[in-house]
Assembly symmetry: D2
Homo-oligomer: 134 residues x 4
Amino acid sequence: MEQLLQYGQSVLASQPFSQLLGARLVALSSGAAEIHLRMRSDLLQQHGFAHGGVVSYLADNALTFAGGSLLGDALTLEYKINYVRPAKGELLVARARVTSSGKNLAVCHCDVFCSSADEEVLCAVAQGTIWKKS
Amino acid sequence: MEQLLQYGQSVLASQPFSQLLGARLVALSSGAAEIHLRMRSDLLQQHGFAHGGVVSYLADNALTFAGGSLLGDALTLEYKINYVRPAKGELLVARARVTSSGKNLAVCHCDVFCSSADEEVLCAVAQGTIWKKS
Amino acid sequence: MEQLLQYGQSVLASQPFSQLLGARLVALSSGAAEIHLRMRSDLLQQHGFAHGGVVSYLADNALTFAGGSLLGDALTLEYKINYVRPAKGELLVARARVTSSGKNLAVCHCDVFCSSADEEVLCAVAQGTIWKKS
Amino acid sequence: MEQLLQYGQSVLASQPFSQLLGARLVALSSGAAEIHLRMRSDLLQQHGFAHGGVVSYLADNALTFAGGSLLGDALTLEYKINYVRPAKGELLVARARVTSSGKNLAVCHCDVFCSSADEEVLCAVAQGTIWKKS
């Protein structure tokens, strides 16, 4: 388990865009992944919330890591995201899990939360297809 | 038309995340928007292509601007994106248009292209719902 | 609770297409709905499984009932469905729940199962937006 | 071309659910498909419009035929649909085309129209992934 997480972290570390945003993979197990992102002023939109693109990035990446934990080196084929609440607060937490998987395909779900000291509030939900190129 | 574009550009300029990525709104008319993004090394993933999060950001933002051009101040309620090809090259171009709109809701479509001197290659397609909070 | 279910059943009974397919609303509470459909030979596709359109119908309708249980008379604005396994067996079961809701909008999730005497197997997952026209 | 259409029609004829609904494949070429459905009272919902499940069926099936025209025997992996207007009138027309395709996967778009003697009105748009099991 620890090895899978370390491997995942090395993958995330090799993504320049993830480094630019400051994403951290904090958990990775068979069929589940959790990515954290500390909010910064340069990640916001015009109303002071995390930009949708930041929330989408998190969901997309967490979906890929969750699927990849079962499939191996994989990519997001497609996903759909509903923003359910403005994303505010100091920390964004994306938790993804595999809903169903086969040899080359996994369908995954992701919840994105705004996290503070005393609560987590859901701000987006996503569903997507992860694919291992055969 | 020129006024709408200038207004849109001022909105984009007020999004810190869009500034971080270097997005430019190059066209905005009633029901259509085009956003450009020059590729940079810090926007890539581990295989040297634009990170999916960058492509999603572009699609999401172009959808919002297209919908907002008809609805006024609006936000993306949800969208779905299919990545159809790795995003490479110097320039990403997102073109969005309104498919259908009402008083508070617009359904929009977006194509994202990898653009070079001599061709444009489709790398993602998105469909989403833009909403003007009533 | 019993009243909500009876009301929901009267709505389903007023949908000719739901009657044609033989759908039954077996549970409806605040934020959750369950619809059953007994498989019949005229609901299949060419390989002997339930047609995708039947599975989609179930997911769509269950999403609407779940959202409508909180919003009142509502409709499905949009949804996305992943078919994860061929739908076979005697009974299809769609279970939907509200993930997040506001005054006019609810985001809902639905699982569709192939159910037999001794097990339920997931065959599709859907996520959608339910809207109460204001 | 004529041969492809005839083959497609034989596939549709082998889908009992498509026969139950009365769907007709009226065009099929490389990368495009058109399915018609004459409205009937047993295909409606409670407000007198075509049931969403009928519209979804049409979109899903048209997407599959469009993708299958390039991939061969294929299935819908997933799709997303936005209902943009109540579906009324005597005839529903679903037109799907391939947006992008590879060896095993095709991304397709579908418009569903309410058609009458003098006009076509868009009532739904869908985007989905068609897959040829390798």
